[in-house]
Amino acid sequence: MSKTTTISVKEELVDLYLSNLDLITDRSSAILNRGRQAAIENFNLLGLPEAKSEKYKYSKIEPLFTQDLEKYFTPKDITFKIDDIFRCDIPEIGTDLALVLNGFYLPKGDKLKKLDNGVIYGSLAEASVKYPEIVSKHYNTIADNTSEGLVALNTAFIQDGVFIYIPKGVEMDRPIQIINLMMSDENLFVQYRNLVVMEESSKASIVICDHTLSVQKFLSNVVTEVVAKPNSNLELIKMQNEHNDSAQLSHTYVHQQRDSKVTTNTISLHGGFIRNNLNVLLDDVGCENNSYGLHLTDRTQHIDNYSFIDHAKPNCTSNELFKGIMDDQATGAFNGRILVRRDAQQTQAFQSNNNLLLTADAKMNTKPQLEIYADDVKCSHGATVGQLDMEAKFYMQARGIGEKEAKLLLMIGFAHDVVKKISIEPLRVRIDELVDKRLRGELSRCHNCPMHCC
C-alpha cells in the first residue's frame, strides 16, 4: 500500500521535472544545468526517504509531498510592499541583506552586489552567469546527491538561491543576512540552493531567517553548501520561524579545510514540520567545528535534527550542543552521528543533546551515534530528556516569583545556553527576546521577527 504511494509520488516528481525541463533549463546557466540529469536519475533510484530507513525513522517525508502543492518554475508575481519588509536590519550593526521569495532571489537593487572589499552576495543564478569560474568550482561539489534523495531532487530542480563569496583575507565586520520568505495565495512547494564560499583566511557571519508570510501550506526543500577554505572562520546562524502548516527540509553541507573554523547555530523557533540535516566534513588538520541548535516545539509541531560530523583528518575538534523544549503533543528527534576515521588521531569530539518535556504527551527521541576508528581520541556524548527542575522552581517561588513565571525563567535559562553561543551581541540579545516571547506564547505568527524584517 505505502509502496505504491512511494512510487507514485516519486514518479510524479520525475514527471514534473521532465515536463518542465525546458522551463527549468532555459532560464538557468550551464553550471546549474550541469548536474541535473545525473541528479534526477539519482532521485529516480533513491526516491524520497522512507520511514523504514533508520535515518528518517521519526520523520515521515512522503506525506508532505502528497499534499496539494503548486510548483513554479518562473518567479510568480506577488504584490507586497517590499518596504514593509525592509524596515528591517538588525539595529546597531546593520546587515547586508539578501532576500529570497518563494525560492527566487528578489533584488532590492541589483541581483548581485559586490562590496568594495570584494565580497559578492546575491542571486545564485546571476552569480553563475557573472562569476562562472567561482560558482563552477564550488557549486554542487559537496552536497550528497548519491545517497540523499531529497538533495538529488533539489539539484535537479533548483533555479536560484543565494550566493555569498568572501575573498581571501577579507574579514566582514557586519553580518550578511539572508531572508527566505514564503508568501503566496496558493499552497506551494519550493526548492532553492545556497552557496557560501569562504576563501582562505576570510571571516564572516551569515544569518539566515526563514519566514512564512501568508497562511498557505508551504513545503521547502533547501540545500546549502558551505566551502570553508584554509584558516577561514564562518558563523552561520539559522532562524526558522514558519507557521504550523509549513514544512521545511533543510540540508546543510559544510566542507572544512585546514585550520578553518565553522560555527552553525540553528534556532528552530517555530514551524509545523522541520527536518534539519547538517553534514560536516573536517577534511584537513586543525579544524574546529561548532554545531549548535535550539528548538522550541509545541502543539502538534515536529522537529528532527540530524547531524553528521565526519572527522576525516587528525587534530580537529567538534562541539555539538542541541537543546529542545517540547510542549503539548509536540514530537521530536535528534540523531547525532560522529565518525572518527582511522587517520583522525587527536580528534576531540563532544556532543550533547538536552531536552525538556513540559507535558506527558510530548515526545523526544534522541540517539547519539559514535563510530570511532582511531585510538588517540577524546570523545564524549550525553543525552538527557527531562522535566523542569522542581527544586529550582520552588526556589524561585520562595522568592515571590509566580509559578508560571518561574517555569518560564527556567525554560529561558535552558534555551539561553544555546543562544549565548551567538557571537554577535545585538543579534544574541534579539534572539533571546524572541525566545522569551515565543515561550510566553506571544509569537504565534512570524510577524514579530527579531530582525524586524517582517
Binding site: 527542575d389 527544586e391 529550582a392 520552588f394 526556589y395 524561585m396 517561588q397 520562595a398 522568592r399 515571590g400 516569583i401 509566580g402 509559578e403 513565571e405 518561574a406 525563567l409 527556567l410 529561558i412 535559562g413 535552558f414 534555551a415 539561553h416 545556553d417
Partner: protein, 248 residues
Amino acid sequence: MLKIKDLHANIKGKEILRGINLEIKAGEVHAIMGPNGSGKSTLAAVLAGREIFEVTHGEVTFNDKNLLELSPEDRSREGLFLGFQYPIEIPGVSMVNFMKAAVNEQRKHRGLEQLSPADFLKMMREKKELVEIDSALTNRSVNEGFSGGEKKKNEIFQMAMLDPKLSILDETDSGLDIDALRIVANGVNKLKTANNASIVITHYQRLLDYIVPDHVHILYNGRIVKSAGKELALELEEKGYDWIKNGE
C-alpha cells in the same frame, strides 16, 4: 507575627513534624537547634510551602493570614523569607534577572511601581555592599558554581533585596569562614528592625555570639522539646544533645 499550633507534617507517609508549637513576635530573634534529622529544615520548608511535605494537622497564622493556604510565592510576597540550607543552582538564569523578577513581583503585591532599571541596579549595589558579595557573582547564573560560602552569602543578599518581615535562616552559618560568618551576621543584624523577626536554625553557638537570640528552642524528633533564653545554646555547646535525647 507567626503562630504555629500543633503542626504535623509527613513526607512519603513518614511523619517528620510531630506537633510543633511556636509563637514569634515582631522584633524577636528565635534560634532553633537540634540534632541532625530532627526536622528543622522540614519545619522551614513546610513554612515556605514546599509541596512535597504534607501537612496532616495543625495551624499556622502569619500576620493573621492562614499561611498554609497560601502558595509559596504568596507566602514570600507576604513577607516570609527562607534562607536555604542548600541553595539551588539555576543554570541559565542570571542573578540579575532572577532578582529583578523577584523584587518586581514583591512590589506588585504591595501595590508599588516596578523599579526602573537604574533604581534596580542601585539597589543591587547597595545590598551587595551590605553582605560584601563580589560583583562578579551577581553577573553569573543563580548559585551556579558558587562556593558553599558564596551561596550562603547570596541567601543573605537576597534577603536584603526582598526586605522580609520574617526570615528563616536554615544553617546559613555552615560552610562560612570566620570572616564571612561575621559579615553575614552583621548583615542580618543591620536588617533587623522592631517590625521584623527571624528564626535562625543553627548547630553552633558561634553564630549566636553575633546574632543574639531572644529565645532558643531545641527541636528533637519532630517536636520542640525545650525552649529557653540564649543561655540554652551555651549549655548545648557544653553538654551536647545526649541529655535531651535521654530525657525523652
